[in-house]
């Protein structure tokens, strides 16, 4: 066979990569259960079915700032912001306040009323009301450090499914089975009983559930129920004003805009229906709630909704968070007017041991360790190689305890594995080519549960971020690990560290927290080396260059900075980039860069990755200008070799792989690409209540 030697002799091109394309990471996001939007801080809190909480910063490109891992027993049914404080209530009957700085529950209070279906705070932020299974609405006083039970409102027969405070704080409307009750918040007496019609036909015998309710300042009550209705009531007289039948199934969620001129209702069909408070004729004062728009962005139940000033935020069973801008509120054809779907976390769940060729997949309740396959062939670009040895699942490690895994790391040599939950930290030694595992039992006391973990390149040290932006450094030795010290940022840093990056030479460690602060520590002295000037957007990924010791930071607004740790200033290239500005298409991408790495063979290369592409930034090439085509790989491929120079620019973007959860460069110069196609996720979802059929 003459072909093989010929191919072997072919000079491997600079831009040619062998790619391990992996699709066996069965990451399955959990369904969205509840949402709360804080207009003051522009943060969206989102609760998933597994009890995990996520905080999105809507003012910073919808970046997923914080993730609070789930807990087995915690089923969050409702969320509520009280100023900057976040409370949840769930079917376990407890009210929980969260510590958003340490990403864990602060305390829980049992309401003693059975499962809690709903929670609401009055507009003054002084009283929390929860609706319980036993038919009581319980009031809790919000104190500085805790909440205290105050009293019960009149107990009703049947459970309280939903409730809403009147903005004045004097009345509460509560949705129940077959009816709505209005309570006087001061006396606790039920003043009105509004009977909600059951569905027609066969469902006549079935109780109707008032899933969601909203009490407006003009004493209008809006309710949505399991018979598919959105009803508008006069809250003062207790009369029904209007009924809108919007679906055959349940209307599960409601959300009203701040100015009470628009409301959205989410249905089991996956549609979100907007109503607006309009007058039928101009200049008339008699306004009415008119059904205006229908959005269909979900395949399954819309369980949670938030109506921000400019957009409708929805989420549900299909696990995606959708931000649908209202086109009458935003300027058309801008970044703000584009619909956004958040399907995957904005952080990496995959860790790649570059030297060993081993991958660590993090799931909420277990870890998986895989060894990559091998092939010995050579092939032309665009083709695939015969797989000589397939990938191999080495270990599946189940977590201990009820808390879900919040972070994990694998050492580059593949010899150490660490993970942490909010309550415990565990370190394992992997032996015999990662096949056998044993727990390191003697851990230093200072190694507490961490927000983020990272091993040094030589696998000799472990860095674990801890409270107040500090980082614990531990030397890894057998049989005992030794505490080396704690890296502390300046006084006053309270936000958790969400990014850790150690330099190849073991000299530097960079940390980034959600206050957008990036600190660099000198590991020899275990002291703060410098702080990168704070940029207004949160860092989403960063890494230190192995040879030049430049720190590359990418932010949620897609900006890229390169900071010289030696000179303590932005590098020449970074300044040039800022001066010229990034290409508009680059800035319009709607998923953050989640990983930065470098090409050891070419120090001018920076490899960055988001959900839909990875990009090799070649600093030696000119930056793309506004007139250049940003995604130019197809064009370049079609051009003859000499012409490519004319058309190429510094951003080599590969869109061959989609839904990328990890792109990493192994030591042997092959790329590891972990994909999780959305279709695979959708196929694991339960069947939707209604499927679109042709001509229906």
């Amino acid at each position: 066979n003459l072909n093989v030697p010929k191919a072997r002799n072919r000079k491997i091109q600079m831009g040619e990569f062998k790619v391990h394309r992996i699709r066996f990471f069965d990451y399955m996001p959990s369904a969205i259960r509840a949402m709360a939007f804080s207009t003051r801080t522009e943060r969206l809190a989102l609760a998933r079915a597994d009890g995990a909480l996520e905080i999105f910063n809507f003012s910073d490109n919808y970046f997923q700032e914080k993730v609070l891992p789930g807990h087995d027993g915690r089923a969050v049914e409702a969320l509520c912001w009280v100023g900057p404080r976040l409370f949840s209530a769930g079917l376990n009957g407890e009210i929980t306040e969260y510590d958003l700085e340490n990403l864990r529950p602060r305390y829980t209070v049992d309401a003693y009323g059975g499962p809690i279906w709903t929670i609401g705070v009055n507009s003054q932020g002084t009283l929390l009301a929860v609706g319980c299974e036993d038919g009581t609405v319980k009031m809790f006083e919000v104190l500085k450090e805790r909440i205290q039970f105050q009293r019960n409102l009149d107990r009703q027969r049947g459970r309280i499914i939903s409730l809403s405070w009147h903005p004045s704080g004097t009345l509460i409307a509560a949705g129940m089975m077959d009816m709505i009750r209005i309570f006087d918040a001061e006396t606790g007496r039920a003043t009105h009983r509004l009977v909600v019609d059951r569905g027609a036909g066969a469902s006549k015998s079935k109780e109707v559930v008032v899933w969601s309710i909203a009490f407006l300042s003009d004493y209008t009550i809006i309710s949505s129920d399991s018979a598919g209705k959105v009803q508008i009531w006069d809250g003062l007289n207790g009369t029904l004003i209007r009924t809108h039948l919007i679906t055959k199934w349940d209307v599960l969620a409601l959300s009203v805009s701040q100015d009470e001129s628009s409301l959205v209702a989410g249905t089991s069909e996956g549609t979100v229906v907007q109503f607006q408070f309009l007058s039928s004729t101009v200049d008339r004062l008699d306004k009415d709630w008119v059904r205006t728009r229908t959005f269909k962005n979900h395949s399954h139940d819309v369980r949670a909704l938030a109506h921000t000033e400019t957009a409708v935020v929805s989420g549900g069973m299909d696990t995606q968070l959708v931000v649908r801008p209202l086109l009458d509120k935003v300027e058309k054809n801008t970044r703000e007017s584009a619909i956004r779907k958040v399907s995957f976390p904005h952080r990496s769940l995959v860790c790649c041991a570059k030297k060993a060729g081993v991958l660590l997949f993090q799931f909420p309740d277990h870890l998986e360790l895989w060894r990559l396959g091998e092939s010995d062939g050579y092939g032309k670009p665009g083709g695939s190689l015969p797989v000589k040895r397939g990938p191999e699942k080495l270990i599946q490690l189940k977590r201990k305890g009820e808390d879900h895994i919040c972070c994990s790391a694998l050492s580059p040599c593949g010899g150490w594995l660490a993970y942490s939950t909010v309550t415990s930290f565990r370190l394992y030694r992997l032996l015999n080519g990662s096949i056998s595992i044993c727990k390191v039992s003697k851990l230093p006391k200072d190694l507490r549960p961490a927000h983020q973990l990272c091993f040094s390149t030589d696998s000799s040290k472990l860095f674990a971020s801890s409270s107040n932006s500090s980082v614990v450094v531990v030397a890894l030795n057998e049989p005992e690990c030794k505490y080396l010290g704690t890296l502390k940022a300046k006084y006053g840093c309270r936000q958790p560290v969400h990014l850790l990056s150690a330099s190849e030479n073991g000299k530097w460690l960079a940390t980034a927290n959600t206050d957008c602060e990036v600190h660099v520590y000198n590991l020899d002295k275990l002291k703060l080396h410098c702080t990168v000037p704070v940029y207004g957007s949160c860092p989403t990924a960063m890494a230190i260059h192995p040879t030049t010791s430049n720190l590359v930071v990418v932010h949620a607004d897609q900006q890229i900075f390169e900071y010289s740790l030696v000179k303590k200033e932005y590098t020449e290239w970074s300044r040039r980039l800022q001066k010229q500005g990034l290409h508009s298409l680059w800035l319009e991408r709607d998923t953050p860069i989640t990983h930065v790495t470098f090409n050891p063979k070419n120090p001018a290369h920076i490899i960055v990755q988001d959900l839909f592409m990875f990009c090799i930034i070649d600093k030696s090439l000119p930056l793309p200008e506004a007139k250049n085509v940003l995604y130019n790989q197809m064009t370049l491929r079609s051009l003859p070799e000499p012409d490519r120079v004319l058309h190429s620019h510094g951003f080599k973007i590969c869109k061959d792989f989609q839904h990328l959860l990890c792109v990493s460069l192994l030591e042997d110069h092959s790329l590891v690409v972990v994909e999780r196609p959305l279709l695979d996720i959708v196929s694991q979802l339960p069947a939707p209540v209604r499927q679109k059929k042709f001509a229906t």
């Binding site: 790619v19 394309r21 699709r23 007058s279 004729t281 101009v282 665009g382 190689l385 990938p391 790989q633």
Partner: protein, 722 residues
Amino acid sequence: MAALYAGYTLRGLAPAQNRPNSGIQGVEAERDSDHVVVTDSTRCVTLYKVSDQKPLSCWTVKQGHTLTGAAVYNARTQEYVAVSDRKVIRIWKEDDIILDKAFKATVSSDVWRVHCVAGGDPVVLFHRGAVRLLDSLLSAPQQPIEEVLSPEEAISWSTNIVTESQQFVIFTTEQKGDHFLYLQRLNPNSLQRYHLEREEPGLSPLSFSVSYRDKHIRLLYLYPNGHVYESVVSVRAPVPEEGAQALPLPRSLLLSLPVGEGLLQAASAQELDEAHVAVVGVPHPSAGSGKDFLCIWNTNFQTLQAGKEMAGKIYGQLWSFWNKLFIPHGKTFSVIPYDCPKSSLASALGKQRQVKKDESKAPTSVPSWNTLLHEEKAHPSRTAETRKTRTNRKSQSAQSLTNDQVLELIKTAPVEEVQREVQLLLSRTDTQDLQTSVGQLASTLASRSLNDPAFYTPSSLVQLVHTRYLCHSVCPDLVLLALERKDYFLCQLCLQFFPDIPEVVTCACLKVFISMSDVDAAKVNLEPDSVFFMEALIAQEHEAGLNGFSLADEEDRSDNLAEGGATAQRDNEKASAAEQMCPVGLHKAVLLNEILQTAYFDSFLLPHLKDLSSQDVVLFLQYLQFVYLKFSHDACKPTQGLRSPSLTQVMDWMGLLLDAHFTVLVMTPDVKDLLLNLHRFVKSQVRFVSELGKIEGSLQELDKMALKRDVGQYSIEIIELF
């Protein structure tokens, strides 16, 4: 939806059968929404309580006197003001019983009307255009009144409105078929004059109505051809100097009402609100051609919202006060309440006219340096301006003529000057304005050229066609004119750019083109792109031979496929050699291509095609066959980017020609070969396509296989980044 409610009669009309007018001179609002003052055309003023349908008081002037202006009610002083015998102003109160005993004042000039609206002072408008406040006039009744209008100019309609800050008297005049709008501001006084654009010659507006909204005065006027225009004038427009030239008043067509047979005679349009117009004397679109209807139209959506048949003769009079329409018709004077709820739909759909847009539309008369420096000098002699001074001024100020002036010029000026002016006008005017003026220019040019054999301006016409604002219906003479003057370049452009050339004209072009001699055609200058395309097509015939892809092979095969086609090989070769040659010259082919690409409807085209002579048909068929063969060879696909006829167009024309002349062609012996060839070729094509159809399934399978590159759970791939 707007609605008209059941009306009721306010009073009867004097039974004068063949009088053209209704006998009502004016209706004015009184103290509240339930009172109106009606002035009849002779001597009587009556105050009505509308809801009771009953007169409260009636005042009459003595026999021998007549009321010449409708009485108005001055709400401030609670007095009535009327004019009798053109010069006598009468003022009285409600409790005055005998009019002749009330206050009277005789003024020195004829009064047109007295106007008074709520919130404003009474104003007197004189026949010659002067305006006085009533109070100041009465302080010195015999004061001299200046003449504002020129001697031939006469007021046709007037009104008075009050804005937040100012009072306006608005009136329109007519002078030798031109209509002008005057906007007289009071306190401080200033006068603006606008020239209404001409509608079709001889048509004068039937009615005017004015409203004030968003700092703009909107004038709505109806022409006998059913067009309702709106013109917007900003109340804040800077005041030009006194006596300045009439500004052109831009207009927008709000509605084009159905007029039925003939023009409208007595009709009136009243603006009810920003979206609704009430029209009387116009036929209902779904009720024949009777013109005795009162309709409310929505101007945002151009829809008829309500209609009502009015019994009896319509006098073209219509007033509206406080949601009531007042209409004299037949022998009655009716009141019809209406309601126009403002729909949110228009604003939701973006149909509401936006204020901003209007603002830019409103004519602004910013004084330009040119005007200040040069116009002043030119001004005094404007009427008697000679062409010489005009050209002088133009060379001084580089200012070119307005649209109307150019139109005038075209009628008389020599060719060179017309060409120059048209070019200037086209280069100056922005595209928005062009749309309306290009059609006028072209038709004026064409009509002069048709009448005057010595006059022809090819370059101007080409420029006008190039603007792409022309179409055949705008200027129906143009194509025929071009044919007549043998301006084939213009013909080509028209065929290219006009989407609406009628089949008869297309055929006329075809006839001329096909019968033109190649020598003549070669002299014609044509659009280069189309020539390139044809050159390429003809050049390919040689290549085809070189590639060894000769038609003979094709025929051979087709014969074999046809099984038993025993035609002599020789004949085939001869025929195919002839087919390989383009039967017409290059330029002629280019022109024919244009014909092929025009739009047509076959049943309209067929009768005209029959007029072609059989030689022409044969030649055209040969040409079509040539193009068809060229296109069928895959080597000669229609070139991308260049305008070229498509294969289907060629096929369709071939079919049409054969349909039109089949019997003649079958009878003509020398066409037999051609027809046989065509038949054979088409048969082979059909066969080829059917063979393709057979393998379609397999091809689709291939397609599916290519897509189905499943990646699986794990693969190792090679990628290259450049």
